[in-house]
């Protein structure tokens, strides 16, 4: 592992993004626009206060998952990955480079959505803001890590895009947004217990509660962070120096 190579990789990925302005615009603006849409659809300040943090949780994950899985799939199919594997680049250099670059992009995304929600949409967060931002960032990293992992199971971009609902929808359905997790049938609750998004949504709820972040918040944060690290390590296993 080398810091120089990791940073060079992150810079390279951000430069690639910079050349693709439309993707940047979509990445940064869409979560905010959906937030505004949600506000007017719900048309109830208290209910909006309950759903807005969930959206802040889901969006960084969703967008980063998509962007990363496509980007790494391209890297695999265009031969640039093979070229890098023949060079003195560690597998973690590449993975952390992606995490760093897209983590930064997620920061911008969350900052805008949060700023608009807090001002124009009148979202009221009684406690400090940093726990919220922390959870959103961890979500983005989790999305990046799972995107890297899933790109190994896709041969084409069509397949990679189709993996998004597979990974995303069960996590949202079982994450306790629609039905509290405790009220699900035991089997579904067990499944929900092993899905990282459940803890991300829970952590977000703790972050927004007026009691502020406590022990349960930190337990959830640790679980989400641990899942991201696990997915990253599994992703590293799928990057092979030698291929048939």
């Amino acid at each position: 592992m080398s810091l120089v190579i990791t940073l060079a990789t992150a810079r390279r990925i951000l430069t690639q993004l910079r050349h693709d302005r439309r993707t940047v615009a979509l990445m940064v603006l869409v979560p905010t626009l959906v937030m505004i849409l949600l506000y007017y659809v719900i048309d109830d300040q208290r209910a909006f206060g309950r759903f807005a943090p969930v959206l802040l949780c889901v969006f960084p994950f969703l967008v980063m998952f998509l962007v990363t899985s496509i980007a790494t799939l391209r890297e695999r199919t265009s031969g640039t990955l093979e070229r890098l594997m023949a060079m003195p680049l560690g597998r973690l250099d590449l993975l952390l480079g992606y995490g760093l670059a897209f983590g930064l992009a997620a920061c911008v995304q969350v900052a805008l959505a949060l700023a608009v929600s807090l001002t124009w949409l009148g979202l009221d967060i009684p406690g400090p803001l940093w726990p919220l931002v922390l959870v959103a960032l961890l979500d983005a990293l989790l999305g990046t890590a799972l995107g890297l992992l899933c790109s190994a199971f896709a041969r084409t971009e069509f397949q990679a895009v189709q993996l998004m609902p597979v990974v995303m929808i069960p996590q949202v359905l079982l994450g306790g947004i629609l039905v509290p997790r405790g009220r699900m049938t035991p089997v579904l609750e067990w499944i929900s217990d092993v899905l990282p998004m459940s803890y991300a949504i829970e952590a977000m709820a703790h972050a927004c509660a007026d009691t502020g972040p406590g022990g349960e918040f930190w337990r959830d944060v640790a679980l989400v962070a641990g899942s991201a690290v696990l997915a990253l390590l599994l992703g590293a296993v799928t990057l092979r120096r030698r291929t048939p």
Binding site: Q16, R83, A86, P88
Partner: protein
């Protein structure tokens, strides 16, 4: 699928790897670079087993389809790969000039022509002045003038002490190599100098020599 191949690539020379498409050239080159899963046999490169970490800075590799980022400019591509290799700061400009691509430095990969992309891929392989250059069909799809320029470049690199292993399926390029390894269906048909090959098959034309080698093998 390669069978019982034994050959050596002399240092400081251009060795041509020739043979029809699908004969195993790319597999062999990937084995030398260390990105191919090798089920058996031994590949030693520059005195070390192929694929060892110490070799990654000493080998330059360019794949058949140019592996450069289409959404970066040529110079941004080179700067990134130079950073990964730890090559000197001015290396990107140097290799761009050597492959004759300085004019396209600020063009995005996606807007390059096939020949320009090829040369961009070659430029990446030349970063950090590697001791061994493994070039898979570097002149495919190039016009005759460019092809001649690139072969002159290969010989300049060899004169500076680099070892080159260059694959091609065009026989007229064979004449420009100092040594030839002719492959067919994963087997070596010949490992000789161009003159040695002409002498052995009693013909002055290398294309004809190749055909006679195949006939010889079929008769044996």
């Amino acid at each position: 699928m390669l069978h019982g191949l034994t050959f050596e690539v002399p240092r400081g020379q251009v060795t041509g790897l020739l043979g029809p498409s699908g004969c195993g050239k790319t597999t062999l080159m990937r084995a030398v670079v260390g990105v191919q899963v090798v089920s058996g046999g031994e590949v030693t490169v520059l005195g070390e087993p192929a694929g060892s970490a110490g070799l990654r800075r000493r080998i330059g590799y360019s794949t058949q389809s140019p592996a450069v980022y289409r959404d970066l400019t040529v110079l941004e591509n080179l700067r990134y790969f130079a950073a990964v290799l730890g090559a000197p700061k001015d290396d990107p400009e140097r290799v761009l000039a050597e492959v004759g691509l300085a004019d396209a430095a600020h063009q995005l990969g996606a807007t390059l022509s096939g020949g320009q992309l090829n040369r961009a891929g070659l430029a990446v392989a030349m970063l950090g002045r590697p001791e061994l250059l493994v070039l898979d069909e570097p002149t495919v799809g190039l016009d005759p003038v460019l092809r001649q320029e690139l072969w002159a470049l290969f010989h300049r690199l060899a004169e500076r002490g680099a070892t080159l292993l260059v694959s091609s399926h065009v026989m007229d390029e064979a004449a420009r190599c100092e040594r030839l390894v002719v492959l067919r269906q994963g087997e070596i048909l010949a490992d000789d100098t161009p003159d040695g090959l002409r002498g052995r098959t009693r013909t002055s034309d290398l294309e004809e020599a190749f055909l006679r080698l195949i006939a010889e093998r079929a008769a044996a």
